[in-house]
Symmetry: C2
Subunit: 259 residues, 2 copies
């Protein structure tokens, strides 16, 4: 049973303002909470139905974590999902670590990815293809938005995202590392010979890479439309799909280099 104050607090976390004020964020549903429990994020509290509390999943909860039993109506109230799923955990945000560019690694740089679903999907894709470093411009969606957490399918607990002034960041490293960006007039990515290190800039969903960032790109590349007869008629590829194709090609190249 939730007190009025608890209810108020939990629903306030749907808003970024209160998440940031309190330094915590909600994680929802059986699958996501499992991923959270397997991560090194600190859990402040878990609110769950009897079904979840009696399930094997609950056994991996640290004994010091407060576990509150709630009913379906309460779950409905505190949930962000259309179909709430047994459990909501409140996790503590991590304080950003200083970001240092390492060599021999790939970094994704997000230039104002606004859609939480896209951000989550990009993090999941990076995780799949073993790209473990993401830098995001301040205009990018909030990492702790419930839709980001959900779309990342838990990858948000594994791949750190560093918010930074992107222009300064790229200006500081584009002499040492190639900085790739997608443009319609670029080199075909299959010919780009992605090496063992680089930065890949992903542009905003509607406007692509912003002009202040464009000048810092050292390698313009393109994902070719249908060939040979060029029947491809879609105007653009969605930002997260383009990221997947890039990461695939980067990983493909790593595989070739390594074998």
């Amino acid at each position: 049973m939730l007190s009025r104050n608890q209810l108020k607090l939990l629903t306030s976390l749907h808003l970024q303002k209160y998440r940031q004020e309190l330094g915590v964020f909600p994680v929802e549903g059986v699958k996501m909470v499992n991923e959270l429990l397997a991560s090194n994020f600190e859990i402040q509290g878990i609110y769950a139905t009897a079904e979840w509390i009696n399930s094997p999943y609950a056994t991996s909860v640290d004994p010091n974590t407060t576990l509150t039993i709630i009913n379906d109506q309460e779950l409905q109230k505190i949930s962000n999902l259309n179909a709430p799923n047994q459990v909501v955990a409140i996790a503590r945000m991590k304080s950003p670590e200083p970001f240092r560019v390492l060599h021999n690694e790939w970094i994704l740089a997000l230039d104002q990815i606004r859609d939480p679903g896209n951000l989550g999907t990009i993090i999941r894709t990076a995780d799949w293809f073993g790209i473990n470093r993401i830098v995001a411009s301040y205009g990018t969606a909030d990492l702790y938005n419930p839709k980001v957490v959900q779309a990342s399918m838990g990858s948000v607990f594994r791949v750190p995202v560093h918010y930074a002034p992107l222009r300064e960041f790229l200006a500081g490293c584009n002499a040492d590392m190639p900085v790739f960006g997608a443009f319609l007039d670029g080199q075909r990515i299959q010919d780009a010979a992605f090496g063992s290190q680089g930065i890949l800039v992903i542009g905003n969903e509607s406007h692509g890479i912003s002009s202040e960032i464009e000048s810092l790109i050292t390698r313009r590349v393109t994902i070719l439309k249908a060939a040979p007869s060029g029947q491809g008629r879609a105007e653009s590829l969605n930002a997260s799909l383009a990221t997947a194709v890039f990461c695939y090609e980067i990983n493909r190249n790593r595989t070739i280099t390594a074998s």
Copy 2:
């Protein structure tokens, strides 16, 4: 100004039941309506604010199409979007054409893609990479769902989607054409040498390719996670992202073959 009956009719089209009953579907916003106007879909009527009606876009409307001027409140009422955008057009669905498998082409076969956003994104991806034929199982999301139309960014007007019993369809052609499906134990797609024709089966978001379809797959392939050290930790790739990587690789191969 909309009559009560018009208002009722237009809002009823948010539901599949009424769209199917009437054989029409709504298309929203400046960009989507432009794509619609450029397509060969028949338009039954357009409801737009003065701003749109006085814009250059309105000049491409067929003089026989009924154009109704509405105010912002009315637009808000009939819109499916959080931020309605000037215009809603009502388009007539196309009656399904008989589907015949041609040689020398690629077909996407969708095995219960439930999420409208994913379906729209897959259609957009197919369009980008010049795959113009899509077969969808009956359990797949409704092509005329506003979210599908929106996520396809207009590709829904160019790439026909045929709903069919997928098992029968594949059983009828898997002797003539390779049928590819993604599984964790498959051949790496960079080694698969996709030729000039084939069927690519995309499985459901949660359950992958269903067992009744799995037995009809003749080529098991996989999108490799991070290599060489296998750091990739995400459990799976989202269905539409996997489609993008597949279509990219198919198109990459076509490009090589052709050059």
